[in-house]
Structures are given as C-alpha cells and as structure tokens.
C-alpha cells in the first residue's frame, strides 16, 4: 500500500471510533449498482525502483538532438540553483497561500515576481501568473473587452505574424464570448505587419489591436506606429512579448505616445526547461486603471496586527470563488511553481545577465542564419531586424528535409508550410545563447549534406 501509513491496528481502532465494521461500509451511501471496483486495465503497482527503470528507458527513447527549434519555447541555460530551490518541499508541496501567515514564503516570491514583471514590461501591475502565454493572450483580450468602454465590440485586430497556436487558443477560449479576430497582413519582404493594412480598419470600433514583439518570425514590429494608430482609434493595445527580449527592447509601456495597455506573454524563457511544452507560465501586466478587470491572483503587501509588513492575496473580489458567475475569469490555479523558478532565475541573471542572454541569442541566430544561407539553395526570407529567430527558405520541402536532419541529430526548426503556405519551403530557426559556433557549423554542414 504505497503512501498509506495505516497499520491493521490503526484501521481496527479507527473503524471502532466510527462505528463501522469494515472500510467498505463507509461507502454505503453509494447506490450498490454503481459500485464498480474493478480496474482491470490498470497495471499492478510497481516499486519505485522498477518505475524508475521504465521511465529512464523511455526518457532515453527521446534521444535528444541538437535543438534549433524555437517557435514559442526557447532553450536557455537555467542556473542549477533555480530548480534545486524551486523543488524544495516547502515551495513544491505547498498550495495557494490561503492562510497568508503560513505562506509568507510563496507570497513574498509572488510579490517579487510581480515587481520584476512590471519592471520588465514597464507596466503598473502584474498578476501572479496565467497558465501559459497563449491562454494569457486569450485572457488579455477578454480583459480588453471589459476594459474598453468606448469600443466593446469584441473585434480584435490580429496580425498574421502572431504565433499561430496563440491565435488558435484565443479562438477556442474567447469565441463563445463573442470575440472576433480580424487578420492583419505582413510585409512579404520584411516579415512584419504592414502598416498600410491598418487603414482599412479605421472607424470600425476595434476593441483591441494585438502586437507580438518580436513576432512569430522573430522579426521586430513597428510597435510605435501601430500603438499610436490603435489609440487614435480608441482601441486598446495588447502586447505579446518575449521576456528575455525586454532586456534589450523598449518596454511596451513606452510603445508610441501612450504605451501598450495590456501586456502578456510566455514566461518559459525565464527558467523553465523545454520539457515537452510545459508546465510553463503566462504573465499579464497592465496599467493601474485596468487592475480590477485583471484575471488571476494578485499578491499585495500589507501590515499585520503588530504593524509589521507581510503579504497576502488581494483584490480577491474579482475572483471566481467570491464572484462566481460574475468573476473576471474562471482561473484559480496558476503556475506558482514556475513563477518561483522564474523569480529565482531573474534574481540570478539580473538585468545585465538577461541582456547578455538576449544579446548572445541575437548574435548566435545571426551566425546561424549566415551559415545556413551559405548552403547552396538556402535563403533568408525576411530583411527586417530580428531578435533570435529567423525564417529560412529551403530548396526542398521542410517535411522532407527536417526528418533527414533529425536522423543526423539536428532538430532543424519549425516547419512553416502549414500555417504560412505562401512562404513555400520555409522553416523557422532559432539559436539561443546555449549554441556554440561548432554546433552552428554542425547544423550548416548537416543541411549541406541533406540537400546535396
């Protein structure tokens, strides 16, 4: 009986106290015809030793290659201290800090996290996290509808350069509340949103304009112009940003004359391993005027009975356990453990470290693009300034080339053909600070070999 401490004596004594003869009697309120009891397809329980052997074997099946895929999940160095501390029982096995006095550790971490995210994005207030970047964008748009009293049409301008899966998640999670996404085209030469495409939407009562910076192609958008246009139209600006990039890029609060209104994004680059896509965390920051429309937990600093500072969950009146059907969202569980990791990560790298990570990633992607473009038949798709991703065009279909690269131990990028058929044989590649010159060369040589 793994994890159950009861001895036979305990069971006997406890049943006696209850006044029951056997444990099964405790289930006598369940109609008999419903009692199942058999779980034939569940395997027998195994000792930890045997489960460990199975899992190790399976892990080894995922023979990990040299990874040049980004597309929303980025391989960064994670300081050893991050997860050694994060997985301490006190962080790992605690729950939402409902009893603030017995949860000051988690609460202070969340307060520090909120402070860091507002610092990075330049906004006034941050929540304590969302599930992931994509769902954070959905929540941000719902929040925009609630916040934009002038234009609450639910019409959202959504550039085609936004992560395609983010758009899908927005559809899944906001469509029922009447939000509609209107696509904005991108410049086929530069790979960023066409400013001219905005004009046709003037006077349409747009609720919000989404800007992803850097965009899905890794290209930098003209954030100032789009922001100013949106504000002129009475639309809110919802920014989707990569937190690493904010060490070097203008924070959304400074976009255009008035800055973005709501900022969200995927927190994974801040200390979460790739790990098959999760758990990661979404972040969400905004201007103080919109704080009461914000979904999710928020931690505040206050005083105790003795006047000593302490932390607790605050503004809970927005949340579902109080407001039920009138809540800002149904979200309650968030990604606290990942936020703990991110907070420790940001403390360890600091502003200089994060800037160097960003800078080294830009430089390595530049080197990668140069090395790949030197392979006969390969070219770079866009001329726009970029962060740490780029689109390269292959002479053959990516569906042919990528598996061959994988067989050589190179995970060569994200195949764009399904979402962007207009780009032809295009692949999105990424080289973060973790990649060495040798590894970049290895990719180029493998590609050469595959295309030869």
């Amino acid at each position: 009986m793994p994890f159950i401490p009861h001895t036979e004596t305990d069971v006997r004594d406890m049943l006696a106290a209850i006044g029951a003869k056997k444990i099964d009697d405790l289930f006598d309120e369940i109609p008999l015809e419903l009692r199942s009891g058999k779980l034939d397809k569940i395997p027998e329980g195994l000792p930890e030793m045997e489960v460990a052997a199975i899992l190790s074997e399976r892990a080894h099946l995922d023979a990990v290659g040299l990874n040049f895929i980004g597309a929303g999940a980025y391989e960064h160095h994670i300081p050893a201290a991050v997860w050694q501390i994060t997985t301490r029982g006190e962080f790992y096995s605690a729950y939402t800090p409902y009893q603030a006095e017995a949860s000051q550790g988690t609460l202070q971490v969340l307060y520090e996290f909120q402070s860091m995210m507002t610092a990075l994005t330049g906004m006034d207030v941050s929540n304590a996290s969302m599930y992931d970047g994509a769902s954070a964008l959905g929540e941000a748009l719902l929040m925009a509808v609630r916040s934009n009293k002038q234009n609450d049409s639910g019409r959202i301008l959504m550039p085609k350069t936004v992560h395609p899966f983010y758009k899908e998640v927005v559809t899944s999670t906001t469509h029922a509340q009447g939000l509609r996404q209107i696509e904005l085209a991108y410049c086929p030469k530069e790979g960023k949103t066409l400013l001219e495409s905005l004009k046709e939407h003037e006077g349409q009562g747009i609720t919000a304009v989404v800007i992803q910076q850097p965009n899905f192609f890794g290209t930098l958008e003209d954030v100032d112009a789009i922001t100013d246009w949106a504000h002129a139209q009475g639309a809110l600006v919802v920014a989707v940003v990569n937190p690493t990039s904010l060490a070097l890029l203008k924070p959304p609060s400074q976009w255009g004359a008035k800055g973005a209104d709501i900022v969200c994004g995927e927190g994974q680059p801040l200390g979460a391993p790739l790990a098959s896509g999760g758990p990661y965390f979404g972040f969400l920051t905004t201007k103080m005027e919109f704080v009461r429309q914000m979904p999710g937990r928020i931690v505040g600093r206050t005083l105790d009975l003795d006047g000593k500072p302490g932390f607790s969950l605050t503004l809970q009146a927005r949340e579902q356990h109080i407001r039920r059907s009138k809540a800002t969202s149904n979200i309650c569980t968030n990604q606290g453990l990942l936020v703990t990791a991110a907070t420790i990560y940001m403390s360890l790298v600091g502003p200089e470290g994060l800037a160097r990570v960003a800078s080294a990633s830009i430089a390595n992607t530049g080197k990668l693009v140069a090395a790949l473009a030197a392979v006969p038949g390969v070219s770079v798709a866009f001329s726009g300034a970029r962060f740490h991703e780029a689109v390269i065009k292959l002479p053959e279909s990516a569906a042919e080339v990528l598996p061959k690269l994988a067989a050589l131990g190179i995970l060569g990028g994200f195949d764009l053909s399904r979402h962007y058929p207009e780009l032809g044989n295009a692949v999105l590649v990424c080289a973060t600070e973790t990649k060495t010159d040798t590894q970049i060369k290895r990719y180029a040589e493998a590609l050469k070999q595959v295309l030869a």
Binding site: M1, I30, L39, A102, G310, T333, R356
Partner: protein, 490 residues
C-alpha cells in the same frame, strides 16, 4: 525574522557572474528606436544572496513536506519524490514540444498510457490531457457540451445548471462559454433538490455541472435520478472531478452516467500543488463527445505514437495551450499511477474516506457540530462553528489562525458558502492516525482556550513570521509591486 525583499539586497553592478554569458552586450542589431534605454529594475545580487534569500523564504511556508495540511477540497496528500526526479530526467527536460515524433516516443508513450489509465478509472471513452488546470478542464467540458448541441443543430441549449454548493469555477466557466447559469438548491442532507431540478430542466438546458461527492463532503445519492432527469431533458452531465480522490476505484463517473469529466491530477494523482500550481485538468468524455475533445491527443498506431490534431479531430473544440498543456505535471501523474497500480488506486479512496470519517466521528464526539451529522463523510467533511460564534464569538477564521500555532495548516474555511462558519476538512489517505489524533487534540485545546479567553484566540497566530494580516488595508492601499527608493539603486 522579517526577510528583506530581494531588491533590498540589490546594488548596482553586483552580479552572479557565473550565470551570465561571457560576451558583452551588443545592441547594434536592434534599430535605435526599438532599443530599451533604461535598465529594467531586476535585482542585482550575488548568486549566494539569491540562494540564501529564496532558501530562507521557502522556510516560511507550510507544506505537505513539513505539515499536516487538511485543506478541504484541495487533496493535499504526499507527493512522491520519485515523481519529481523521474519527470525531471534530463532527456524529458530537454525535449522541445515541437520535436519530431522520432524524438518523442518515450514521452508520447507515457502520455498514451496515462490516457488509458484515466479512461479506465473514470469509465470514460476518451481522454484528452491538454487542459492546464481544473478550471480549464471545466472550460473544455462545457465547450464540448456546447459543441455537441451545436453539431446537432440544437442551438437553444444555452443554460447550465449548477447546484448552489458548487465550486465557484463552475458558474464562472459557464459564463466564459456564453452560457447562462441557473443554480439548483441543496436540501438539508446535502443532496440536490430533485423537485427543483425537475422544474429547472427544459429545452434550454445544455447540461448540469455536478461534483460528486459534492463540496459538502457527501455523496450525491440521487445521482442516477439526476442523470435521468437531465438526459431526458436533452442535457448532458458534467462531472467536476475535483473530488475524485473520494471515489477512485469505488465508482466511476462513466458508470454514474456522466458525459464529461475533468480530473484535477494535482489532487487525485498527487502532482505537487507548487504554491498555487501548476495543475492539470485532463478531461474524459463519453462516446458521443469523442469528436469534440481538445487537441492534441496522443494516438497509437502499431508500436508507435503520434499527436492527433485538427486533421484527426476536425470537430475538436480546439487548442487550449500553445503546446500540449502541463506536460511535466502529466508525467508526474503517470509516474504516480504506476507506483500506485490497481490495488493502490482502490486503497486511495478507502483510506482517504477512513481518515475523514474517523476525524468526523472523533470531532463530533468531542462536541463539534457537523454540518451533515446524518451523513457519512466522503474524503472530507464539514464542521460548523455557528454555535460557537453565537456563544463566544469564536469564528472559523479564529480557529484556522490558531491552528497554525499548533503546527497544522488550517482546513478550508467559509467554503462551501452554504454552511456558516464552516471548516471543510480533508485529511487525505497519506496521514497517519497519530497526526489525526494530534489535530483533534489541537482543535479541542483551541476551543478550551476560546472558552477562557476568546480574545487570545482572536489574536492568533503568534508563532508565524507575521501575525494576522490586514486584508482590508491590502485592498485599500494597494501595494502590488516594489517601488525602487531613490537612494539604493542606480
């Protein structure tokens, strides 16, 4: 001792040098007008300062690894340490979510096996693992119900029924999906009021969201009847699996007639709660909802595994996360399931229920009032301090705070909303009898303290890092981020 904020350890130019790439920053690739001009106010500390700060902060938490944590409806049971270390095997951590299937068979096989295990324990026809928390599982569930009616052209069904004892997420979820919500009252014994239900159903009924055992800590005895009523009215049944720990191996939502269920794997399958997440809210569906499952789902063809996406499930309600949800949490749940196995799963509900009924019986014997004295406890139960509040002004909050001084995390308080001054107590199956006995003693001792001097109890806690916090001030004088004082920085 008060712990400074990490920012208060910060000094300009201080760094954890080993954590920075060697190359100096070069922004020449970024157009001037897109560059950041100011240094973001992240802490500038040494590696040891960060390690010491966060290690010390961790010690200010109660947690399963350090304390009994009978937080009702949260299933705070032991999180096996092997689940953590095996889910963090280097190969699992290094796998990119878009790695090709050739580099993913290990991970995919675990996910497939987990789907199969969850199907078996719930009696459902299909499982999708992608929802990232219970609330997202609920969202997926109601979305599928909507999609089902819509696919049949039954567009009038836009109302979701919710018992008044339900988790707050249920109505909030329904609203997010454009549904209206109608609450169904609960009777004095904690069951759904069948007559009220009958009166409520109709051609507008999309479905009902039900937790069973309910949040009142009792098993809904009329479940078959309820299923019949709702199904006959054309609605579907949604099972909120928050309390699956009470019935694992005893009764299956599929057998009870439910069409869709979400499972909080961070509860029943013991993945860590992490100070507020991540969770995982896998959904199981009956046959008729199979086409609508959220993507991706893992499929098996011969000996190999691959993602099923919109090509395989064109009627899917779509994606709920950019990748496939909280993969690492799912791995932990899978590992837990393998450790437990069939027999282990049967015993989860048995011993969770034994512990709850033991505590209930002993506390009742000691003079505490049960919310539902005529009922068996499920995996949890409720005591109400209504009488004590009236007699000596002792509130649920007072008892909760004082329990911290006795070394126990408090039960859930003031939930469910239906029961005044309530403590919802869930001991879980992993606690030993001695701990339960100490908890009983502590509650009795607190009651005695309160009888003598309720003001003393109202001053609790006394031994925590802080005393009782001013939540009103927290809202009125909103302080939700650190503001850099001029003198210490830059």
């Amino acid at each position: 001792m008060t712990e400074k904020l990490i920012f208060e350890h910060s000094r300009a130019t201080r760094t954890a040098t080993a954590q920075m790439p060697s190359a100096a920053v070069d922004v020449s690739a970024i157009p001037e007008h897109l560059r950041r001009k100011d240094k973001p106010m992240l802490p500038e500390v040494s590696e040891m300062q960060a390690v010491r700060h966060y290690t010390r902060l961790s010690q200010k938490n109660f947690s399963i690894d350090t304390h009994f944590y009978p937080l009702g409806s949260c299933t705070m049971k032991y999180n096996p340490r092997a689940c953590n270390s095996l889910a963090m095997l280097p190969e699992f951590l290094a796998r990119h979510p878009f790695a090709p299937a050739s580099h993913s068979q290990g991970f995919l096989s675990c996910m497939y096996d987990l789907q199969e295990i969850l199907k078996e324990v719930t009696g459902m026809a299909g499982v999708s693992l992608t929802p990232m928390a219970g609330a997202q599982g609920e969202f997926a569930g109601v979305a599928m119900i909507n999609a089902y009616h819509k696919a049949r052209g039954d567009s009038a069904r836009t109302e979701i029924l919710v018992p008044d004892a339900a988790h707050g997420t249920n109505p909030a979820t329904a609203v997010m999906l454009g549904c209206s919500v109608r609450e169904i009252p609960t009777n004095a014994d904690g069951d759904v009021d069948i007559e009220a239900l009958k009166a409520a159903v109709g051609p507008q009924t999309a479905g009902i969201m039900l937790t069973n055992p309910s949040t009142l800590g009792v098993f809904e005895r009329n479940i078959k009847k309820i299923a019949e009523i709702v199904h006959q009215a054309g609605g579907l049944l949604y099972y909120d699996g928050a309390n699956l720990n009470a019935i694992l191996g005893k009764v299956r939502p599929g057998d009870m007639g439910f069409d869709v269920i979400h499972m909080n794997l961070h509860k029943t399958f013991s993945t860590p709660h992490g100070g507020g997440g991540p969770g995982a809210g896998a959904v199981g569906v009956s046959k008729r909802l199979l086409p609508f499952m959220p993507i991706p789902v893992v499929g098996k063809e011969g000996d190999s595994y691959r993602w099923l996406d919109e090509n395989d499930l064109p009627q899917s309600i779509g994606r709920l996360s950019a990748f496939m949800g909280n993969a690492g949490v799912l791995l932990r749940a899978y590992i837990y399931a393998r450790l437990l196995g069939r027999e282990g799963m049967h015993r989860v509900a048995e011993f969770a229920t034994l512990n709850a009924n033991y505590l209930q019986a002993r506390l009742s014997e000691k003079g505490f009032d049960l919310a539902f004295p005529k009922r068996r406890a499920s995996h949890e139960f409720i005591i109400t301090l209504k009488r004590q509040k009236k007699e000596i002004e002792l509130t649920a909050t007072d008892v909760a705070k004082r329990l911290l001084d006795y070394g126990f995390h408090a039960p859930t308080i003031y939930f469910p909303l239906l029961v005044p001054e309530c403590l919802l107590i869930e001991p879980t199956e992993t606690e030993d009898k001695e701990t339960l006995d100490s908890f009983i003693e502590a509650l009795c001792a607190i009651y005695e303290e309160a009888k003598k001097d309720v003001a003393y109890v109202k001053g609790a806690p006394y031994t925590m890092p802080v005393r009782r916090l001013d939540d009103v001030r927290a809202v009125r004088q909103l302080d939700v981020r650190w503001n850099q004082p001029a003198q210490t920085h830059g």
